[in-house]
């Protein structure tokens, strides 16, 4: 019962979708302060589309590894915007990592984070400190790699990733946006949490809690 098949991976996506949906207004408000207030809607619609497509694909017998490309497509076409291409790249990069796998082992799950980080970095070409979601995905990915190298168990890896993610999110407060919509505010973006950073933390937390549930260990 250690592995996640397509249905179980879909359940993981559903948890992400649920958590993002709960945070929809909060994310909209964060985006409103420095952008156009739609980040909550974009993320919520994107993940809802991912869940719909994953349910269909897994009921057609798709393998867990096949879901990522499907997720990429459905997120992208439901959302467009900045987050559509970024998370589509994230899912595609994960899809490459897990290509052909019928189910993912628990030990494979933390690897999602570096995969997402590299997909987002490749598409968005942001640098650390630009006040974007990469300021969460980047540190979280490094935390995963370090913890795996130290031999930590999957959930423990995700625990340190989440910690790094939260630190990354808080660090965006002190950054001035230099890419994306908020960059036009210049110094006025200072003091505000980046919305994309905030939603990234929610996804990572859902990943951790979803894996914990799957492993029968409850939410952290």
């Amino acid at each position: 019962m250690d592995g996640l098949d397509a249905h179980q991976l879909t359940a993981l996506f559903r948890l992400m979708s649920l958590r993002i949906d709960e945070a929809r207004h909060m994310l909209g408000q964060l985006d409103g302060a420095i952008g156009d207030a739609d980040h909550g809607n974009s993320m919520a619609e994107g993940f809802a589309a991912v869940v719909r497509a994953s349910v269909q694909a897994s009921s057609r017998g798709a393998g867990a590894g096949d879901l990522f490309a499907i997720a990429a497509d459905s997120f992208l076409e439901a959302v467009g915007a900045t987050t559509g291409p970024l998370y589509a790249s994230a899912f595609l990069s994960a899809g490459q990592r897990y290509r052909g796998m019928q189910s993912l082992r628990a030990a494979d799950i933390p690897g999602l984070i570096p995969a997402f980080a590299s997909g987002i970095a490749a598409r968005g070409k942001a640098s650390a400190g630009d006040k974007t979601m990469l300021d969460v995905w980047g540190p979280a990915a490094r935390a995963v790699v370090d913890a795996q190298a130290a031999g930590s168990a999957p959930l423990a890896v995700l625990d340190v990733a989440l910690e790094a993610a939260e630190e990354g999110r808080e660090a965006t407060r002190a950054m001035t946006a230099t890419v994306g919509r908020a960059s036009r505010l210049g110094q006025r973006s200072l003091g505000h949490v980046d919305p994309g950073a905030a939603s990234a933390v929610i996804i990572i937390a859902a990943l951790r809690d979803g894996l914990a549930v799957h492993l029968g260990q409850g939410a952290g």
Partner: protein, 337 residues
Amino acid sequence: GKKLMNAVKDLVDESLAGALVAHEALIAPVPGTGRAVMSRAGPRPGKVGIVIGGGAGHEPGFWGYVGKGLADAAVVGNIFAAPPPGPILAASRAVNGGAGLLYIYGNFSGDLMNFSMAREMVEAAGIPVRQIVTNDDIASSPPDNRGARRGVAGNVFVFRIAGAAADLGASLDACEAVTRRAAQRTYTMGLALEPARLPDTRRPSFDLDADQMEIGVGVHGEPGVEQRPLASADDAADLLLDRILAEMAPARGDRVAVLVNSLGGTPAMELYILTRRIRQRLKAHGIGVHRTLVGPFYTSMDMQGVSLSMIHLDDELAALLDHPCQAPALTVTGQPT
């Protein structure tokens, strides 16, 4: 914060459906997508296809600028969100006349990414695509970093130039060149009296006190660059015009076209008061005005406020502005207007 709408999720599709019936003689849906419209006049073999687009919430942008002598297709995303590659691809296929495509859209990271992804796919299918990324909003970045600026209401002039050039049979190279020049010579500055309200929350997209105005707002409810006490119409017009003139630096005898644009909630009476002042001042500077557009050409939902756009004309650009066009939001006849 009241709005006439049905379910929030249907807002974009329903208003697009309304545009398609109201202007059925001019525009039609692009096959295979619910989020793109094309001109009934196109595609024409051998003509460069012009594809424009961006987020919804700017009505009559973008479908209002589709028609003969203007764009061939417009792609529309969710509210204030760039369209995904799918409908851009569908529109590209639908209006390909064999002479290549020109994409024109505003400089936002979402539009850049999605249009670029579509472009890769279209070019992979053997259709050459050029892109003009507009950045007319002078409030959004200093002049030495013009490439970082947003593309806003000045798009109307850029669409117009591209559409006229393509209609006159210019090659893809020529279309791209003249459109790029138009984009480089277009400047916009906006201000808001009241922020737009997002349809789902009905919350203002930024906070603004009862006696303040927000200078340098974008067209997506982004906050501007500073707040000031609400000014008189003349002072507001001066503020917008001064900034534009400082960058455009026209010489006496130069010609411009002017767009005094409602951001959605500002009525004609107020727009024309500003227009009067702007024209008076341009006259004092010895600058000729070739054409003046006044109205809700490029909105930000129900935002109260105005933007001023000006394009610095040369003979070719002026002639292209006079070329006839017929689209839902802009008709130019052979006659003077």
